[in-house]
């Protein structure tokens, strides 16, 4: 029996009981479409995280205080948090020791409230130098940046994140206005452009001079050089020099901290590549998890196909007998039933791909709990899902088909 006849015969048999075929198909449709949709959501999350990190610039290196071993030991505990000083940061921009470093921007942080008239909002404050906005790839929307003179003068000036500006001043331009931040009266000199959708969202931040944050907000003491910084943002000269910059930064900091060869680093250097790899790893697990859950529904669909095929073989025993009597070989019967099963699962697979595609397409940009869902539809996932649905048909169709093929034709003909 050639393939054309086989296909037509199988199509006729499947089509003869449309409701049953449709319901069986539905199991596969649900399985395949959930695989497609889940993978699209998972990959979307992965891609958007990666792109947000890349937006920050792949040449960004971050140094934080703390011993790596200790961090692990205390599960994220900060280790000795006073270990990085402003002077450490300045030392990292050195033409001889760290030639691959283009820009250094130390920061420290505080949190508190900002009040303007009756408006009150929580802010996450960042003490910065003039270099900060370049290091973090931020743009001033209006007014000016924190200047190095502000840093020198411990000036009470602030640059607002767009969200803060909006909650305190509405649509008015706040430049020149004053706001009470953590109990101090600040003059607003600038507003940041909104960076919504990036991973380090500055929209709820307030930037003030690093010295102001230390002495006037946090109530710190000591000389400028010795003030503690919570992290140092560093840009390498290019993406290619990130690794050599990292090495030279480690060397300089180890020398400055007088660490011996036996000592572990008391700081942690993270490049964007590290962050991307870590997050992609996590997201990869997430994608696999989503895929497996969807895969289980495909498995259940496959069992449904097997069930229906077994019923079909029993119901059509006489038909099998007739076909055998007029010359069908066992393998003709085997192929016919396998083809029927594969036809159903492949049909379900095609519909499932279309449905999953539609879900991913229309679900793109939907908001769930304030998070924007991004989906990425990948052709190879669709191809794999189709191949898997054919494989499901083969796998679950073989057993019923073998039963059909092994029926004794005499018995089958007698079957009522």
């Amino acid at each position: 029996m050639n393939f054309g006849i086989l296909f037509a015969t199988a199509l006729g048999s499947v089509g003869a009981n449309k409701l049953r075929a449709g319901l069986t198909l539905l199991g596969i449709v649900i399985g395949v479409s959930s695989v497609i949709a889940m993978m699209a959501v998972g990959r979307g999350a992965q891609v958007s995280v990666t792109s947000r990190i890349s937006d920050l610039g792949t040449d960004l290196i971050t140094v934080r205080p703390g011993n790596q071993a200790l961090r692990f030991a205390f599960f994220g505990g900060g280790g000795n948090s006073d270990v990085l000083s402003f002077e450490d940061a300045l030392a990292l921009k050195d033409a001889v020791f760290t030639p691959d470093v283009r820009l250094v921007a130390p920061e420290n942080s505080f949190s508190g409230s900002a009040v303007v008239g009756g408006e009150n909002t929580f802010v996450s404050g960042v003490g910065v130098t003039a270099e900060y906005i370049d290091a973090r790839n931020l743009t001033i929307a209006s007014g000016r940046n924190i200047s190095n003179a502000d840093v020198q003068n411990t000036a009470l000036v602030a640059v607002l994140g767009s969200q803060i500006s909006e909650s305190l001043f509405g649509n008015r331009d706040p430049v020149g206005a004053t706001a009470k931040i953590s109990g101090r009266q600040f003059t607003i000199v600038g507003v940041l452009e909104s960076q919504q959708g990036t991973i380090f969202n500055p929209d709820n931040s307030v930037l003030v001079p690093i010295t102001t944050a230390h002495y006037r907000v946090n109530g710190g003491k000591g000389l400028l050089d010795s003030i503690a910084v919570s992290s140092i943002n560093i840009l390498a000269t290019s993406e290619k020099t990130v690794e050599s910059a990292r090495a030279s930064i480690a060397t300089v900091l180890r020398l400055r901290h007088e660490l011996t060869a036996d000592d572990d680093d008391d700081f942690l250097i993270t490049t964007q590549q590290d962050t991307i790899e870590t997050l992609e790893g996590t997201q990869g697990t997430f994608v696999i998890l989503l895929g497996s859950i969807a895969g289980i529904s495909l498995l259940v669909g496959g069992i449904g196909v097997m069930n229906i095929m077994l019923v079909s073989v029993t119901e059509r025993t006489r038909e099998i007998g007739i076909r055998r009597a007029v010359g069908a070989k066992r393998r003709d019967i085997l192929f016919q039933f396998v083809t029927e099963a594969v036809l159903m699962t492949f049909g379900g697979g095609v519909l499932g791909v279309l449905a999953g595609w539609a879900i991913a397409y229309f679900g793109n940009g939907a908001t769930v709990d304030g998070d924007i869902i991004e989906t990425v539809i990948e052709t190879h996932i669709a191809v794999i899902a189709l191949a898997v649905s054919v494989a499901v048909g083969l796998f679950f169709g073989i057993y019923p088909a073998v039963r059909a093929a092994s029926l004794n034709p005499i018995e089958a003909l007698r079957h009522e």
Binding site: M1, G12, A325, V326, K329, I410, L413
Partner: protein
């Protein structure tokens, strides 16, 4: 086209078919030897359980003898594999069943095409033209696209005969072909089988309960307890009377099963 070759259409030598029924060994065929020449028309008669259905299954290459030899058109088929038996059924035999055994969803034409689908070498066009020729031969030119439920029993059985004819086999096996039919349709079917034998020169073997059907053939072989108890030529084969009340009680087939 009565064959002039000396090779018998069917040659059984000492054929035995045993079935294990519980702890009992039952001999459905017990040393049957039988020769049927090409162009003969033979009726196999006998009570239920006499072994005539087992004989039919054996002749139809659906079953293989436990012992003894079976030559079909000069070829030994007793030792053939399942696939080879399927080939033999496909190429050398045509089956006519008591309950027609048509595929209910398919049209008459499509049902008649079925054997061609399993033998290869026919294009869709060839298949349809061969099926039309066979349906024309049994007088169903007006029923190509009818499904079995849309036809009378007699018409369905003629579709069954067309299906048996479509590959132009030498041998037609009919198992109680009139068992489900009324007198008139029975007479038509028997006439059709006779004409295949007389005009087309087919070898026809009919298993039947019906003495009138048997008397319409040229030779009657009677079975009892798995053995041939009578084998006689019919002196003057008579067409079955259409008016007579013919007992058409179906064979209850309470025969030994595997």
């Amino acid at each position: 086209m009565t064959s002039i070759t000396t090779v018998p259409a069917i040659e059984l030598t000492n054929v035995t078919r045993e079935f294990q029924v519980g702890s009992q060994l039952v001999k459905a065929l017990d040393g049957v030897s039988l020769t049927i020449q090409p162009g003969e028309m033979v009726a196999i008669i006998g009570p239920s359980g006499s072994g005539k259905s087992t004989l039919m299954n054996t002749l139809g290459c659906l079953d293989t003898p436990t012992s003894g030899s079976f030559y079909l058109n000069g070829h030994d088929v007793s030792g053939l594999s399942d696939n080879q038996l399927a080939e033999t059924r496909s190429h050398q035999l045509g089956f006519v069943f008591q309950s027609y055994n048509l595929l209910p969803r398919e049209t008459a034409l499509s049902n008649v095409e079925l054997p061609l689908k399993y033998s290869g070498g026919y294009s869709g066009k060839d298949r349809r033209s061969a099926a039309r020729t066979a349906l024309d031969r049994v007088g169903l030119s007006h029923r190509y696209d009818h499904k079995p439920v849309q036809m009378s029993g007699g018409e369905q059985q003629r579709v069954g005969i067309a299906r048996a004819l479509v590959k132009n086999p030498e041998l037609i096996l009919a198992d109680e072909p009139t068992g489900n039919l009324d007198t008139k349709s029975s007479a038509e079917v028997i006439e059709m089988l006779r004409s295949l034998n007389e005009i087309d020169g087919k070898t026809v073997v009919v298993v039947t309960h019906d003495p009138e059907v048997a008397e319409a053939t040229k030779r009657i072989i009677a079975f009892r307890d798995g053995q041939i108890v009578e084998d006689r030529a019919v002196v003057k084969p008579s067409a079955p009377k259409t008016e007579a009340t013919v007992e058409t009680q179906p064979d209850s087939e309470s025969e030994i099963s595997e």
